[in-house]
Amino acid sequence: MRSSISIFWRRKDSYYKVLLTRCKRCGRASFFARDVCPYCGSSDVSIVKSSGRGRVVSYTVSYFRTDSNEEYLPLVIALVRLDEGVYVTGELRDVEPAEVREGMEVEAVLRRYSSDDPYGLIYYGLKFIPVIKRC
């Protein structure tokens, strides 16, 4: 058991939904739900749910092996610009690494983050997948 279940559970809203912190003082929105604005430190913030849709700004195919990720390699890690104009880094699934393109439309869906030690839990959370165009 490497990860505390409590830590995961406490933030589950942020793992199950793409949440943004919108600041009433400086006006900026930022990825992840926080009770303070990471830009200006104001506590006058509200948590809003993002559509979870955006476009790939940049990405990397990762082979960096840890004992938590080895069964999932390679991973595609992308910098995504959400439709709300907010940037987020996260994993991209359901696409071959060679088929990822900058500018690609993506949306957030629930996937497995990682399994813990043999007796640990399996953590699920949001990852991005390509938006399938309905014709």
Binding site: R11, Y15, V61, S62, F64, L75, I77, L79, T89
Partner: protein, 375 residues
């Protein structure tokens, strides 16, 4: 404020020291640095060891080292600022002396990064990012280096191949450094064709995992004068933090480093051309950006100037000297001390200043140490 001098420094070669634990590595440099300092007593020990708790299962490593080394009742503390912990230790040591709380401080950076298989050490290392926001969501440090590198290449229209000049140069430099971990030449094609870590980053764009230990004794003027060590002044050590990558407006900039260098320029009228530097090139791309933030090269053009840089990372840098995490910042200061005072592998710097830069993650925090020659 009281002046602070480097009274002595010591390093061991960075390597996979399977037969030596952290106590032996630290013990070796402490013995050596004490012999070199000719000071009568040590007032404080500041220790950095990034993976102490994860790899060594050891809290309060500083106290355990005083016990192991028979240094009781010497006060001791361990500091943690991630990958820049070594320079943070120098920063605290410097503050203890300028505060008048100590006349001599022993700084020890020691890292055993090879106690576990690399994939485990890689997980430990990832803890420098925000666990809840980044690590749990499967983001690891080289991913950020890769995203920054791609953005840099796009923004400045630089090719992947052009960015091989830094690691090639670092391996050349390391050949002259007796303490370096990677002592072999590489070529651009070797960099390009090495195994991928997080594309476009390959194995040769990244630091190797290694064990190391380095120590310094810092001394007040009073003590340094007595022992004839008033040679290299620690002028200042400054530090700053910055935002996580996904909150940055321009990921090809290192803002906290920019803040720090302009602070030093303003405060000391110091020019980068007068300095020999050691910079935190954990990934090749970070070297290019750091060179630009420091004003050593123009933005987007640093790769063109690398070949002519004689006084940057004489050691071979994190890339080839190695990056024994908590010890790295202490190595850097020791290296600049050596190149300014004795010369290293035929390179001696006779100018006025030495600068070391250490950071954690992609400039999540940065620290600069400015050294100045007095005689």
């Amino acid at each position: 404020m009281r002046d602070v001098y480097i009274a002595s420094s010591s390093m061991i070669n960075i390597s996979r020291h399977f037969n030596r634990g952290y106590k032996e590595l630290a013990g070796a440099v402490v013995k050596d640095v004490v012999e070199g300092a000719s000071v009568e007593q040590l007032d404080y020990m500041v220790v950095s060891s990034m993976l102490a708790e994860s790899s060594l299962n050891q809290l309060d490593l500083a106290t355990i080292l005083t016990q192991h080394l028979g240094l009781k009742p010497m006060p001791a503390i361990r500091v943690d600022t991630g990958e820049s912990s070594g320079l943070a230790a120098v920063e605290i040591a410097y503050s203890l002396i300028t505060a008048g709380r100590a006349d001599t401080v022993l700084v020890v950076g020691v890292e055993k990064a090879t106690e576990f298989p690399t994939r485990v050490t890689n997980r430990f290392l990832s803890k420098v990012l925000d666990y809840e926001v980044e690590v749990l969501r499967n983001i690891t440090p080289p991913n950020y280096a890769a995203l920054i590198m791609k953005e840099y290449m796009k923004k400045y229209r630089v090719s992947r191949e052009e960015l091989t000049v830094w690691p090639v140069k670092m391996h050349d430099n390391a050949l002259r450094n007796p303490y370096a971990q990677l002592k072999f030449k590489i070529t651009p094609s070797k960099v390009l064709n090495a195994i991928k870590i997080s594309e476009p980053i390959t194995l040769y764009d990244m630091f190797p995992i290694g064990d190391g230990a380095a120590a310094l004794i810092l001394a007040s003027s009073r003590v340094a004068r007595k022992s004839g060590k008033e040679v290299l002044l620690v002028r200042d050590v400054v530090s700053a933090t910055s935002r996580p990558l996904y909150l940055r407006d321009d990921i090809t900039r290192f803002e906290s480093l920019a803040t720090l260098i302009s602070m030093l320029r303003r405060k000391y009228g110091f020019r980068i051309d007068d300095a020999v530097c050691e910079i935190h090139d954990s990934y090749s791309i970070y070297a290019y950006i750091i060179l630009e933030e420091l004003g050593i090269a123009r933005r987007g053009a640093s790769y063109k100037e690398v070949e002519n840089l004689v006084y940057v990372n004489v050691s071979g840098g994190l890339k080839a000297r190695g990056h024994p995490f908590g010890a790295t910042g202490v190595y850097q200061v020791s290296e600049v001390y050596n190149v300014m005072v004795k010369g290293v592998g035929g390179v001696k710097f006779d100018g006025a200043f030495g600068l070391t830069h250490s950071m954690s993650g992609p400039d999540y925090n940065s620290r600069l140490c400015l050294l100045e020659r007095v005689v």
